[in-house]
Point group: D2
Chain length 340, copies 4
């Protein structure tokens, strides 16, 4: 790895997530450098790039992709802007790490898949960072090795301290439950077949009509039942847990860690405030492994098909949330190109 | 309490559960004695009574109820035999502790309620022993005091090491989930409104057609969503857990306790093998508190209405299990007699 | 057990502990009744006995021992009064449950042992209730069965919320660490050989000169090293923990149990406020097993020798605390009468 | 940081630890590269360097320090070889990260301190990687901020799966307990005043005379009592725990994390097999932060004085282990140069 020059990355979008990835590539991971940034807000882009040597600054993503030294693209712009950048990157045959969602809807996701297939080799990775979390990986290995037999059910908890006031019911599915859709597909090696959403009497209803918490139950093509508590304004901390119930036992991740205290009649530990804290190592590992693979010309992480599958499940989830019904997930045939 | 003679109890049914209650009254609790036993298998009854002083032995429950010194009845016979004994006990105005189910169906349960109302005061307590478990009581207090705000969801796990080979799908609801039906009603102070049952690809299907595990989701009249994993042949131990998700936090009971070991690359503790081990103290406390109340002429535990409510929820649960649909729970109007 | 009359118990001393034992015998345990009470404060004795049927009230312990129906004695008076009552009870050949300490010093303890040996059978049990705690019993069984090989070290924590202002350095050893002296003897099956006391810079020094916390290290005759953190004004709750380090692993008891909550950035559980809460079941079990054994004419719990051994270890502990030195424990030869 | 060239590091010693640091600098951390390696075993050095671009290979440390592009030194050779390399690095004014021990004895450590002071600025960092562990850092912050008041005691556990057969009693102190010496100094901000070592009846005595486990109690200059269980052939896994007892509560780190399973009557998690697994992230962070600071011309981690303090405490520890006595730690006056 060290015998070649570092991978020059164009980072598209320099908001919270994009700026954090710029810092990560610059300071944390090895074998990569930020060669260009792009953001419609040119000042923000310039500020993020200020301390990086030889980093081009653009407002137009296409210009950033064409900048000198760019050999890969990290897309951290808003979802509706993804398709255009993805297609441009594929046109240039550049490796892409695209923050989720791949695109906002199934039709556009299928166009990206078609472009990648036409190119003839895989170039797109989607930012499902849980696949890089040490605990999730341990659970995935346990399930893959059938250490406790076949998985039968998966119980998930996904709790945030709070979200911004314009968070909507659609975002509960697209931004939050989409992580469980991908995690379930990856952990179980099965697609999602149908979704139902329960809406208990809410803790709060916001101005956007957001009903919180919700309880999502989905079934997989292999007959596993997955339930997800999603509570975006839980108010006590950020908690992501998963328990797989298998033939011969259960396995759970996401319990609290670290410092335990005894004080004032209570024992216990801290709950992380947010996902950047909880999954900090996972983000580092994700970008490092992507950059390493990109330099070898490979995609080893979740690909465009995984991005599409999450988009399709979210569409069913939103309909299920709206109707209270069990909504089957409709998916195109999986191209051989995307193997298994 | 000690200024009156001990309560003379007739124990009806001397199988596993009945024999254990005889031992409990004889050896563990104070203020009560076994005055009579009855079992169709007279030899079994005689054997159980052998070491008890002044204990009458009968094959007919009615004879046991009429035996000298009998002032209360504990019913541990099979469910279909409950109604007759309950009505006979009420006729004699005797306090009753009746193992669940109150009766096998809603119609017979309503007949028992009618008889008790006609008597004019409450005499029937149903054996929902979880209400006497220290952890459940702590959770109930937390919810009643709104320590974490209103409850929104309740996640339950109910796992057995194994069950006998003639266990059926109906028994999953009637014998197992009925505990969660009662616990939810008691913890939340709400009735059960509708039930749905998910049946994942099973770990095993037995000769009786039992599909195991199952996942039951029910809604309460107050809009709380309750989910129950019921896994009767889980194979690893007996585990009962509950987590209440409230407005300002969550509260969970049923984690493993006691001895923690570090050995051979693993740390952890033991899982109880069965409910008699896990709930031993709860059974003791249940019978003690029932006997104490009976001597004061009161019923302080779960009454006939609670037994009826569990029967009604089970009927909906079985239909939900069979059809895969959401089945509303149908209940009679709650008589003022049963207060709240 | 139920074929004989209940054991009539004279309770000597009706302070906090004695009154609680009166309640326990009256309301909780089976097979025993309070036949007499004695306390120098006759009003206090009369109040405690008020609701008990056929209970004699005395200010003189000797009179209580001679009261009608008395067949056993429970001593809960202050330590300096123990010897006289113990000798009187042995003279009458009555089974005794004596709260610790057996007596305040080794010489008087040896006189009690002599009297019991002269009587020719064991009658005295000492109130080391930890031997009746479910977790301690599980640990004892693990050690006795060598499940993890031979024990090598024992780490103990003993923390109180707070103690009364006239608690002294001597009481740290006599009232607190004496529990660990007995627990170590019982868990390990070895006597205590020498004691050393470390006094870190204290959290507080009280008017009595109490230095808190302290750290006691003692060695057993089998070469096991035992350390005890004793922190009597810890301020956060009551916590008793023990970890045995064995050849092939470690085993720990006393972690917090019960209700776990997530709230306000913290997860965790409650710490019991005091020993009556933490060891409530142990006290019940202790008195029940003592009464059962007494009715069979046996002593099955910790006997007079165990009481003497704790007294001897405490004497060494207090000297170690005063001098900062390693102080050997001096004990008489163990009479064959006390077996092993 | 990215505006300058990467830091060229000479890695001295290419055994297990040295080779792992070469991999870390090459693959994991950013802003640094391996510019040279040195090992008396030239083949081993060449093998380690084979895949690194522009990496000089030497058998003589001095030659490696003089190699083109070398701007810093990482010393991973055996302890007796440290002094010579340290002095050579200081002569060249190079930043050094030196694996512990700084040197094998206090006299040589003082010579290194003298050389660094003569140089006039700090250049030496010692490899106490626990200071970079996320949990230790959280505990350190809690203590520094007096969140629970002043620290009074520190209970430490240090358990290995096993060590090689030629591990000695001296190594118990120098290689194992030295970590707790440094951790205590760092966590408490106090020096170590005196050491005592208890040697329980061992689980095993090896051919080297190693007695295992041992129990080390030391006092700090601020009157804190620290105890360390050190068990190098514990046989069940690698476990490092610490509990600080403070005025208003206690805080503990090092409990097991990650995947919890329920299976076959047991619940629990895995214990890491070794320190490379447990402290993998700490090693990465240590080297990254050292390289970052080195490029700024600073030393931010544990310095030469910390290395000397550990050497001095170890010398007392070995004498305490040999004699069974309390041995005061003798230290030179702390030069103002090393601040606090």
């Amino acid at each position: 790895m060290s015998t070649t020059a570092p991978l020059g990355v164009a980072v598209i979008g320099t908001g919270l997530m994009g700026a954090d990835h710029v810092r990560r590539i610059d300071e944390v991971i090895s074998g990569a450098r930020v060669a260009a940034v792009a953001d419609p807000d040119g000042d923000r882009a310039a500020e993020v790039a200020a301390r990086i040597e030889d980093c081009a600054v653009h407002t137009d993503p296409h210009a950033a992709l064409a900048a000198p030294g760019v050999g890969a693209v990290l897309i951290a712009s808003p979802g509706p802007a993804h398709e255009e950048t993805l297609l441009a990157a594929l046109e240039r045959d550049l490796p892409v790490l695209c923050e989720k969602p791949l695109t906002p809807d199934a039709a556009s996701a299928l166009r990206v898949l078609a472009a990648e297939q036409k190119l003839g080799h895989r170039r797109v990775q989607v930012g499902f960072m849980r696949r890089y979390d040490a605990e999730y990986r341990r659970l995935a290995r346990l399930l893959a090795d059938r250490e406790l037999g076949r998985p039968l059910m998966l119980h998930c908890r996904h709790r945030n301290l709070s979200v911004h006031p314009y968070f909507t019911n659609d975002m509960v599915i697209n931004d939050s439950v989409s992580h469980e859709f991908d995690a379930a597909r990856w952990l179980l090696g099965q697609e999602i077949a149908a979704v139902r959403v329960y809406r208990p009497t809410p803790a709060s209803v916001t101005e956007t009509g957001l009903s919180d918490p919700q309880f999502v139950v989905f079934e997989t093509t292999g007959g596993v039942v997955v339930d997800v508590e999603i509570f975006v304004n839980g108010g006590f901390g950020y908690q992501v847990q998963a328990e797989a119930v298998c033939e011969h036992g259960t396995a759970r991740i996401g319990e609290a860690h670290g410092l335990l205290t005894n004080t004032a009649g209570r024992w216990g530990g801290e709950i992380a405030p947010d996902f950047l804290t909880r999954f900090a190592d996972a983000y580092d590992r994700e970008v490092q492994e992507w950059a390493d693979a990109a330099r070898r010309g490979e995609v080893t992480g979740p690909g465009a098909w995984d991005g599409y599958a999450a988009v399709a499940a979210c569409a069913a989830g939103i309909e299920a949330q709206r109707t209270g019904r069990r909504v089957p997930v409709e998916m195109a045939e999986r191209p051989a190109f995307y193997g298994r």
